[in-house]
C-alpha cells in the first residue's frame, strides 16, 4: 500500500540515519554478546544492515526483487558457493513444480514425490556430500510454507507477482534460523508495507532488540536456573527444574522476535509471533498467545477444513474432532520439523503424553468457552475478585505448563515421575517457603491484574523518534554494560554474572552430561556396558556436519560414544567393561586401533624387555585419546618425547602403556590393577585424574554393577549397601545416593592402587590433567574438590603432579577435538605431553634416573 503523502527528503534522511544508527548499536549487541553466533546470526547482521541501506532507497516495485536477490547472495556467502547455489536451485525447482501447467492434484503429487526424494537424502538413505549442509536450510524454508503455499494457490483469485512468491520462501533470516515461524502466505502479502515505511522499520528494530533480550534471558535461565541432574534431590531443586524447563521457551520466542523484526526492516509488517504467553489465563488462552503463527497455520490447514466438513453432523462434535486433529497434527508436525532440521523423526512416549494432555485440556476448555453465555461475560464482577481470579488462573496455567514442559523435556514418563518424586522427602520448611512464595506471587499477580484493568500497565504508544530513542538507547546501554562487566567481572559479582552471559557456554547440567559423555559413561546411557557392549557398532554416516551444527555445541549424529561405536566388551569383574582387543576402526572420525591386549596403543610384549623403563598409564577417555587419531594422544607423544630426549642419554628404552579406557572411574582402575596390569611389569603407575567432575563418572558405574550383580571388594560393598543402591535406581539417583560417599570411594581406590604398587615395588604417581575447557571454572565448589582430591592422593602415598595452567594463553576452542567435545585434540595432547615430560624430567627417580 503506497502511502498518500511521502515525508520530505530531509525527514527521510534523518529517519534513515536513525535506523542505521540503531542497527549499528543492535549489531554491536549481537557481536558483543555473541547472539546466536553458532547459527550464523552475527555474520548475517552486516548483510541485513547493508541490505536495508540499499532496500530503503529503492523504488517500491524493485524492493521485493532486491530482497530475493539479497537472500540468494547471502545463501552463497553463508553456506558457500556450491551449497548456496544448490539451495537456490532446489528451492526454485520446488516452486516451479507448483506452477506446472498440469492439474492441481498432479502438481501436488509431483511436489510430494520431490519431497520424498529430499527426505531420503535427509535420512541418509541416499548419500551426497552436500545434503547435510543444504537440506536443513531448504527444509526450514519449505517444510511448512510449501503446504500453505499450495493451499492458497488452489484458491488464488488475484495474480501474485513472481518476486512476492519467491520472497515468501527465500526469507533472509531463514539462512541462520532453522526454527522459523510459519508465516502465512496471505498475511505475508497483505502486511507488506501496509503502514508508513519508517514505522515498520522502527517496529522491526524494537523486535530485534526485544528478541535479543529474550535470548540473553534464555542464557541466564540456561546457566543459572537449570540444575544438574545429580542435584535434583529436594523440593527447591525440583521446582527449579520444572520452572526452568518452561522458561527455556524464551529462546524460541527470542528467535522469532528477531526473525520477524529483521523481516520488518524489509517492509514485511508481520504481526507478533508471541504475546505475553507466561500470562495466559487458560490453556486455550495460551494457544492464542504462544507461537501464534503455528496456531494460525494449524487452524487454516487442519481445523477449519475439518470443522467445515463435519459441522453438519453437529457443531460440538465438529469442534472436538477438529481440535483433536490440530493437536495430533501439531505433535506429528513437530517431529516432521525435527526430521528436516536434525535428520531424525522422533516418536516418543513423552511427546504423546504431552500432546495428549494438552489436547484433552484444550478440548474441555473450548467446550466451556463455546457454551459460555456472552451476557454472563458482560456482567462485571467486583474488580478485586476479578483480579484475584485472573492472577490465580495465570499462576495455575503457568504451573501446569511448567509441569507439562518438564515432562516434554524428560527422557521418559518414568524418569519424569522419579524426578518429581525427589520432592517428596523435603523438609516442612521447604514446603512452607514454597507456599509463602506462591502466596506472594498470588498477591503480586492480583495487584498487577488490578493495575492492568485500570489501564495503568498499558505501554505508551511511541512515535518514530521516541521509539528510536528507546530502542537505540537500550541497545547502547546493553553494549556499555557488557563492556563494563568485562572489565570488572573479577571485582563485582553482578558484573561477573553479566559477563558470563556474553558468550555461550555449557551449564552445569550439560557439563555434567557431557562429562559423562567424555568419559564414555556415555550420553547414550550407562547401559552401554549393560546393553550395548558386545553389540555390533551403530551405522556411522561419514558426513560432515552442517555449518550450523559444526559451529554449535551439539554433537552431530555420527559422533558416537565409545559403547555405541562398538569399541567395548563386557567383563565379569568390576571393571564392568574394557576395550575390545585388536580392533581397527574409525571412532569420532579418527582412526582408532587397539592392540592384542585391548590397549589403545601399539603392541608391547607382556614381559618387559631388558633395559626398558615402563610406565603404565591408568585413566579414562582423555588418556585413551577420544577423538584423536592413533598416535595423537598424549600418551604416545610422551613416550616419543622420553625416548627422543632421555632414551639415548640414559641408555634406556621408554614404554608408556596406555591402560586408559573411556568411562572408567577410580574403582575400575583398581579392578584393572587386580586383573592384569602388573603382569606387564611396570616401573611406574601413572594415574591420571581430571577434576572433581569425575564424581559422576565413577559413581554412576555402580548402577551397572548392581544390575549385573557384580561382586565388589568388601569395603566397597559396605559403602554401596550404606547408600542403599539397588538395581532399579535411575543413574541420577545412584549418583545422588553415592555423592556423600565420594570421598570414601576415592580414598579407597587411591589406597588400593598404592598398596598394589608398593607390594610390587612400583612407584605410584598421581597426575592432574586438565581438560581444554573448564566448564565449571566459576564454581568455587569445584576448586575445593580439585584441591581436596589431590590431597587424598598424596595422603594415600601417591607422588602427585599437577598440570594446572598447561593451556595458559591458548584459546580452549583450538584445543578441543570438536566444539561439542572437550577432549584434547592433537594440539592439546602435545601441550599435555610436553608439560608432563618436563614434570617427570624434574623427578629423575620416576624415569630411571638418579635416586631410583
Amino acid at each position: 500500500m503506497e502511502t498518500e503523502t511521502k515525508p520530505s527528503l530531509p525527514v527521510r534522511l534523518g529517519r534513515f540515519a536513525a535506523v542505521l544508527l540503531q542497527l549499528g548499536a543492535i549489531g554491536a549487541v549481537a557481536h558483543l554478546f555473541e547472539i546466536e553466533e553458532s547459527l550464523g546470526f552475527v555474520k548475517l547482521v552486516p548483510v541485513i544492515a547493508g541490505g536495508f541501506a540499499i532496500h530503503a532507497w529503492l523504488p517500491r516495485h524493485l524492493r521485493m526483487g532486491f530482497f530475493v536477490l539479497l537472500t540468494a547472495g547471502a545463501a552463497l556467502y553463508l553456506l558457500g558457493p556450491l551449497a548456496g547455489a544448490l539451495l537456490v536451485a532446489a528451492g526454485l525447482a520446488l516452486i516451479g513444480l507448483c506452477h506446472l501447467p498440469i492439474p492441481f492434484l498432479a502438481r501436488v503429487a509431483l511436489v510430494l514425490a520431490a519431497a520424498a526424494g529430499l527426505a531420503a537424502l535427509r535420512a541418509e538413505w541416499l548419500e551426497t556430500p552436500w545434503s547435510s549442509t543444504v537440506l536443513p536450510v531448504l527444509g526450514a524454508m519449505f517444510m511448512f510454507r510449501l503446504i500453505v503455499y499450495l493451499y492458497d494457490l488452489r484458491h488464488e483469485k488475484q495474480p501474485v507477482p513472481l518476486f512476492t512468491r519467491l520472497a515468501y520462501f527465500f526469507m533472509l533470516p531463514n539462512l541462520c534460523f532453522p526454527l522459523f515461524p510459519v508465516v502465512d502466505f496471505k498475511m505475508f502479502q497483505r502486511t507488506y508495507f501496509n503502514e508508513d515505511d519508517y514505522a515498520i522499520y522502527q517496529k522491526g528494530l524494537r523486535w530485534i532488540l526485544l528478541g535479543m533480550v529474550h535470548l540473553l534471558l534464555y542464557r541466564a535461565v540456561y546457566l543459572y536456573l537449570i540444575p544438574a541432574p545429580s542435584r535434583v534431590e529436594d523440593l527447591y531443586s525440583v521446582l527449579q527444574l520444572v520452572t526452568s524447563a518452561y522458561l527455556q521457551y524464551v529462546r524460541i520466542s527470542g528467535m522469532f522476535h528477531v526473525i520477524v523484526g529483521v523481516l520488518g526492516l524489509f517492509g514485511f509488517n508481520l504481526p507478533a509471533t508471541n504475546r505475553w504467553y507466561f500470562l495466559a489465563g487458560s490453556l486455550t488462552d495460551m494457544w492464542r498467545r504462544i507461537n501464534v503463527y503455528w496456531r494460525d497455520f494449524s487452524q487454516k490447514i487442519i481445523y477449519f477444513p475439518i470443522f467445515m466438513r463435519l459441522r453438519k453432523s453437529g457443531q460440538t462434535r465438529a469442534m472436538v474432532v477438529a481440535t483433536i486433529a490440530v493437536f495430533v497434527g501439531s505433535w506429528l508436525l513437530h517431529s516432521y520439523q525435527w526430521f528436516w532440521i536434525r535428520g531424525e523423526f522422533p516418536i516418543t512416549s513423552v511427546d504423546m503424553l504431552f500432546w495428549g494432555v494438552i489436547t484433552c485440556v484444550v478440548v474441555l476448555n473450548s467446550l466451556v468457552e463455546a457454551r459460555r453465555d456472552p451476557d454472563a461475560t458482560a456482567r462485571e464482577p467486583h474488580p478485586l475478585r476479578a483480579a484475584f481470579a485472573r492472577a490465580a488462573r495465570t499462576i495455575g496455567v503457568f504451573g501446569l505448563m511448567c509441569l507439562l514442559w518438564s515432562l516434554w523435556c524428560s527422557d521418559s514418563p518414568r524418569d519424569w515421575i522419579d524426578t518429581l518424586a525427589q520432592a517428596s522427602g523435603s523438609s516442612p520448611n521447604q514446603w512452607g517457603v514454597a507456599a509463602a512464595v506462591l502466596a506472594g506471587a498470588l498477591l503480586a499477580g492480583t495487584l498487577a491484574a488490578l493495575a492492568a484493568s485500570r489501564g495503568i500497565l498499558r505501554p505508551p504508544r511511541l512515535g518514530f523518534w521516541s521509539g528510536a530513542a528507546l530502542t537505540g538507547g537500550a541497545a547502547v546501554i546493553l553494549v556499555a554494560c557488557g563492556l563494563a562487566a568485562r572489565g570488572m567481572e573479577e571485582r563485582h559479582p553482578a558484573a561477573g554474572y553479566l559477563a558470563s552471559l556474553m558468550e555461550p557456554r555449557l551449564n552445569e547440567r550439560d557439563a555434567e552430561l557431557r562429562t559423562m559423555g567424555y568419559y564414555e559413561g556415555l550420553l547414550a546411557g550407562d547401559e552401554v556396558e549393560q546393553d550395548r557392549a558386545d553389540l555390533p557398532p551403530k551405522r556411522v554416516a561419514p558426513i560432515a556436519p552442517p555449518p550450523a551444527v559444526a559451529q554449535s555445541t551439539e554433537a552431530p549424529p555420527d559422533w558416537l560414544a565409545a559403547g555405541d561405536a562398538g569399541l567395548m566388551r563386557r567383563v565379569p569383574d568390576y571393571r564392568v567393561y574394557e576395550l575390545k582387543k585388536s580392533r581397527r576402526t574409525v571412532f569420532k572420525r579418527a582412526d582408532f586401533t587397539t592392540n592384542s591386549w585391548g590397549m589403545r596403543d601399539k603392541f608391547y610384549p607382556r614381559h618387559k624387555p631388558a633395559k626398558t623403563m615402563r610406565i603404565a598409564l591408568l585413566g579414562a577417555s582423555p588418556e585413551m585419546g577420544s577423538g584423536v587419531a592413533d598416535g595423537d594422544n598424549y600418551e604416545s607423544m610422551l613416550e616419543q618425547r622420553l625416548n627422543d630426549v632421555l632414551g639415548a642419554e640414559r641408555g634406556l628404552r621408554y614404554e608408556v602403556l596406555n591402560f586408559g579406557v573411556a568411562g572408567w572411574g577410580v574403582t575400575q582402575q583398581v579392578a584393572k590393577c587386580e586383573a592384569d596390569l602388573f603382569e606387564f611389569e611396570p616401573d611406574v603407575v601413572l594415574f591420571a585424574a581430571h577434576s572433581g567432575r569425575d564424581v559422576n563418572i565413577s559413581l554412576r558405574m555402580f548402577r551397572n554393577i548392581a544390575r549385573r550383580g557384580i561382586a565388589l571388594p568388601e569395603e566397597l560393598e559396605k559403602i554401596v549397601r550404606a547408600a542403599g543402591i539397588h538395581a532399579e535406581m535411575r543413574k541420577t539417583q545412584v549418583v545422588g545416593a553415592l555423592v556423600p560417599h565420594f570421598e570414601e570411594i576415592t580414598r579407597f581406590g587411591y589406597r588400593k592402587i598404592v598398596e598394589h604398587c608398593r607390594a610390587r615395588g612400583v612407584v605410584p604417581v598421581w597426575v592432574h590433567v586438565p581438560l581444554p575447557e573448564d566448564y565449571m571454572k566459576n564454581e568455587r565448589r569445584h576448586e575445593v574438590e580439585e584441591t581436596a582430591i589431590a590431597a587424598w592422593a598424596e595422603e594415600a602415598g601417591f607422588e602427585t603432579i599437577s598440570l594446572a595452567g598447561v593451556y595458559d594463553g591458548v584459546d580452549p576452542e583450538t584445543l578441543k577435538v570438536a566444539p561439542w567435545d572437550n577432549h584434547p585434540n592433537a594440539k592439546g595432547s602435545r601441550l599435555i605431553a610436553e608439560r608432563l615430560y618436563r614434570e617427570l624430567a624434574k623427578r629423575p627417580r620416576l624415569i630411571g634416573g638418579e635416586g631410583r
Binding site: 496471505k186 501464534v292 496456531r295 477444513p305 467445515m308 466438513r309 456472552p374
Partner: protein, 88 residues
C-alpha cells in the same frame, strides 16, 4: 438479494463486540481494526462468527474463506457478505 453494507457492518460489529470486548460499546470496534492478524479472533470466535453470518444473512462459507482475506476486519467481513449476497 442485497442488504445495505452498513446494516451488515452494524450486525457484525454487535456480534463481535459481545464476544471480543464484552461490556464495551460496539462502536469501539473500528471498521479497519485487524481482528485475526491483531489477535482478537480465535477459532472459537471465528466459528461463532461464521455461524452467525450464515444464519443471519443466509450465506454460506467455504473453509478457505475463513482467513484474513475475507474476515480480518468488520469492513472485510461486511464486504464478503455483501459480495455473497449479490452473487445469490
Amino acid at each position: 438479494m442485497t442488504t445495505d453494507i452498513e446494516v451488515i457492518k452494524d450486525a457484525v460489529r454487535r456480534h463481535l463486540a459481545e464476544r471480543l470486548v464484552p461490556g464495551d460499546d460496539p462502536s469501539t470496534l473500528a471498521d479497519a481494526r485487524p481482528l485475526i492478524s491483531g489477535g482478537l479472533m480465535d477459532s472459537i470466535t471465528t466459528v461463532a462468527l461464521i455461524t452467525f453470518l450464515e444464519e443471519r444473512f443466509g450465506v454460506t462459507f467455504e473453509a478457505h474463506e475463513i482467513g484474513i482475506d475475507y474476515l480480518d476486519s468488520v469492513e472485510l467481513i461486511a464486504g464478503t457478505v455483501a459480495a455473497k449476497l449479490e452473487g445469490k
